[in-house]
């Protein structure tokens, strides 16, 4: 019996480590990623999106829990990009909360670009939610003044509770940026109060036992910030939130073959 437990603990640890890390190699050819990344940019540009919410799928579709379509969410902002050769080009810069690969309980705010963003994608599909122009303006003001950085909580959990400030994941950070922009505030308490009042998170359909075991083997997963059932912010719930209050201009899933599906 002791041997069985020891072997299984090794399996759990190995699985958790592998699961906490993004794939080290892309599953697509680089040309495919480049083409898709440009497709996403051109799609948003065609809709005059100066700022939009972007989502990607970083796990095999069959591995996604019920109700979750995208595994990473961020804000893309149309920008003048200064390059290392001294030139300036126009495109989208993406403002992310990224979990540290070597310290999964911690995160950083990182700016990357569409090819970087989709490099580890498991499916070439993008979630695109373009807020109303007034929301875009306020988001751009927030980010250009770098006020969004004060919203960052580096204590990471993949199922962070968006109703408090104990932990934060990429989608909660995106939501908090939206709230800060719309309410023109950086007061965390006010942002969380409005999350509680108006935002409907996604229930996480994974058994408490599995979540509890997971939290034992990785710092990037905890349920300590939840009371009762676990709910977290997702790309889709952010899209619904904006739509509910008529603040969404356009919301689709964009596939590599050009097909779109309304969210």
């Amino acid at each position: 019996m002791r041997v069985i437990v020891a072997v299984l603990m090794m399996l759990i640890t190995a699985g958790a480590q592998a699961g906490s890390q993004a794939p080290s190699k892309s599953v697509f050819q680089p040309e495919q990623i480049i083409d898709f990344a440009k497709q996403v940019e051109r799609y948003a540009a065609a809709h005059q999106a100066h700022a939009f919410i972007i989502g990607r799928v970083g796990r095999p579709q069959n591995d996604l829990p019920k109700g979750i379509q995208f595994t990473h969410t961020a804000v893309a902002v149309y920008s003048a990009i200064s390059l290392d050769d001294g030139t300036t080009e126009y495109g989208y810069a993406i403002h992310n909360l990224y979990q540290r690969a070597d310290d999964p309980g911690r995160s950083d705010i990182i700016v990357d670009y569409p090819v970087d963003f989709f490099w580890g994608a498991q499916t070439l599909k993008a979630g695109i939610v373009i807020p109303a122009p007034a929301v875009q303006q306020r988001l751009i003001a927030l980010i250009s003044e770098q006020k969004h950085l004060s919203l960052h909580n580096p204590r990471y959990s993949v199922v962070a509770n968006p109703f408090n400030s104990e932990r934060q994941n990429c989608t909660e950070f995106t939501l908090d940026m939206l709230q800060a922009a719309m309410y023109q505030t950086e007061e965390i308490q006010r942002i969380k109060a409005n999350n509680v009042a108006y935002f409907k998170p996604q229930r996480v359909h994974i058994s408490p036992l599995k979540l509890a075991v997971g939290s034992m083997v990785t710092d990037g997963l905890t349920t300590s910030d939840h009371k009762g059932r676990v709910h977290t912010a997702t790309f889709t719930t952010i899209g619904h939130y904006l739509a509910q209050f008529n603040l969404s201009q356009h919301a689709v899933v964009l596939y590599a073959n050009g097909r779109t599906q309304a969210i």
């Binding site: 019996m1 069985i4 299984l8 759990i12 699985g15 592998a18 699961g19 906490s20 890390q21 993004a22 190699k25 892309s26 680089p30 480049i34 990344a37 440009k38 051109r42 948003a44 540009a45 999106a49 970083g58 796990r59 591995d63 829990p65 595994t71 902002v77 149309y78 920008s79 003048a80 990009i81 290392d84 300036t88 080009e89 126009y90 495109g91 989208y92 810069a93 992310n96 909360l97 990224y98 979990q99 690969a101 999964p104 990182i110 990357d112 670009y113 090819v115 970087d116 490099w119 875009q136 303006q137 751009i140 250009s144 770098q146 993949v158 994941n169 979540l211 997971g214 990037g220 997963l221």
Partner: protein, 113 residues
């Protein structure tokens, strides 16, 4: 009993992938930049560049008025006016990425010597 324990724990291991975070920065992967460089070398239509800084383009109403200044940037302020903009925004054809991590840059320099 042992079979039940094995089955339960195996299902837990499998489910770790479902809740594994995807919000890990991919940009530091050492292979990505070398792969992109090889794509650039093979295809004359692909031009790859590293970004230094990105300054949001500010909009007021329907007009693009300025590029935002940021405290650490070296971008000149540009002024462009588009009256009642219904045209797509301009997107570069170049492939822009973040810089590779320092460990990759130092390794490359060592190899050259």
């Amino acid at each position: 009993m042992n079979k039940l324990v094995i089955a339960l724990l195996t299902s837990i291991v499998v489910s770790q992938g479902a809740m594994a975070a995807d919000s890990v920065d991919h940009s530091g992967q050492a292979s990505k930049h070398s792969v992109l460089a090889s794509v650039e070398g093979a295809a004359s239509t692909v031009s790859v560049a590293s970004a230094v800084v990105a300054a949001p383009v500010i909009i007021t109403g329907m007009s693009v008025v300025a590029v935002a200044d940021s405290t650490h940037q070296s971008v000149k302020a540009l002024h462009a006016k588009h009256q009642q903009n219904t045209r797509p925004l301009t997107i570069t054809t170049r492939v822009i990425t973040r810089d590779p991590p320092p460990s990759e840059v130092v390794v490359e320099q060592t190899v050259k010597h």
